[in-house]
Symmetry: C2
Subunit: 127 residues, 2 copies
C-alpha cells in the first residue's frame, strides 16, 4: 500500500474504483484542449494538489509517474476540480510541449477521429 498523505477531507469525497483510482482528465487551461486521461490514487492526487506538477499512478508500470520527468513535457497545475460523484478530477494545466508519448499535442490527436454521425440540437439548423 503506497503512502497516503491526501487531505482527509478530500479523501472522504473520493469514489475510487476497485484499484483505488480516480480518473484524471487533463485540460490545457487557456485553449481548452483535452490533452489526455490518466489515473490517480490518493497519493498521486496529493502530490498533484501540493507540488504544482501533475503526478499519475501508472496502471501498466505500477508506479507513480510525474508527467515530464523523462520526456521533459511537464504539466504545471492551474486548478483541480472534483466531479459530482467523486470518481473523476479535472486538472487544468499549462502543458509544455506534447502531452502524448507519441509526440502529438494531445492523446486524442494520436488516436484520431472515429467518424461519428453529427447530431443537432433542437432549434438549430446545423450541421
Amino acid at each position: 500500500m503506497p503512502a497516503n498523505n491526501l487531505d482527509p477531507d478530500v479523501a472522504a469525497r473520493l469514489k475510487r474504483d476497485e484499484h483505488g483510482l480516480v480518473c484524471a482528465v487533463v485540460q490545457q487551461h487557456d485553449t481548452g484542449e483535452v490533452l489526455m486521461v490518466g489515473w490517480m490514487d490518493d497519493e498521486a492526487l496529493h502530490r498533484t494538489l501540493t507540488s504544482g506538477r501533475v503526478t499519475f499512478w501508472s496502471r501498466s508500470r505500477g508506479e507513480y509517474w510525474r508527467k515530464g520527468d523523462t520526456s521533459g513535457h511537464t504539466q504545471h497545475v492551474r486548478s483541480v476540480a472534483l466531479d459530482c460523484d467523486g470518481d473523476a478530477v479535472l486538472v487544468r494545466v499549462d502543458q509544455v510541449g506534447a502531452a502524448c508519448h507519441t509526440g502529438t499535442r494531445t492523446c486524442f490527436d494520436a488516436g484520431g477521429d472515429l467518424g461519428a454521425v453529427v447530431g443537432s440540437a433542437p432549434g438549430q439548423d446545423h450541421p
Copy 2:
C-alpha cells in the same frame, strides 16, 4: 452480454477495462468546457457514433443510458476521437442545459475546486 454492433475496425482499437468499458470525456464543442466523464461499452460507443446522441453504459444501474432521455438535457454529437492507447474517447457535443444531474452546467462545477497549489512553467512569471 449486450448486443455489439460496433464497427470491427473501431472495436479492434479499443483497450477496455475488466468490465469491458472505456472512459468517455464529454466536452462542449465551442466553449471547450469539460462537462462530465462517463463510461461506454462497445454498444454504447456504437450508438454514440451512429445516432447523433450520446449513450453511456451506467455502471450503477447496469443499463444503457441515453443522456437527456429523462432530464431533457440531451447531448448532440459533434465528433468522437479515440486516444493513443484506446482506453478513452473524447466526445465533443452540443449540450442542452445542464450536463450534471445536480443541475450545474458541468459535473466539475458540482464537485468543486480542490484548492491546488499552482505551478508555473519554466520561463513564465505567473502565477
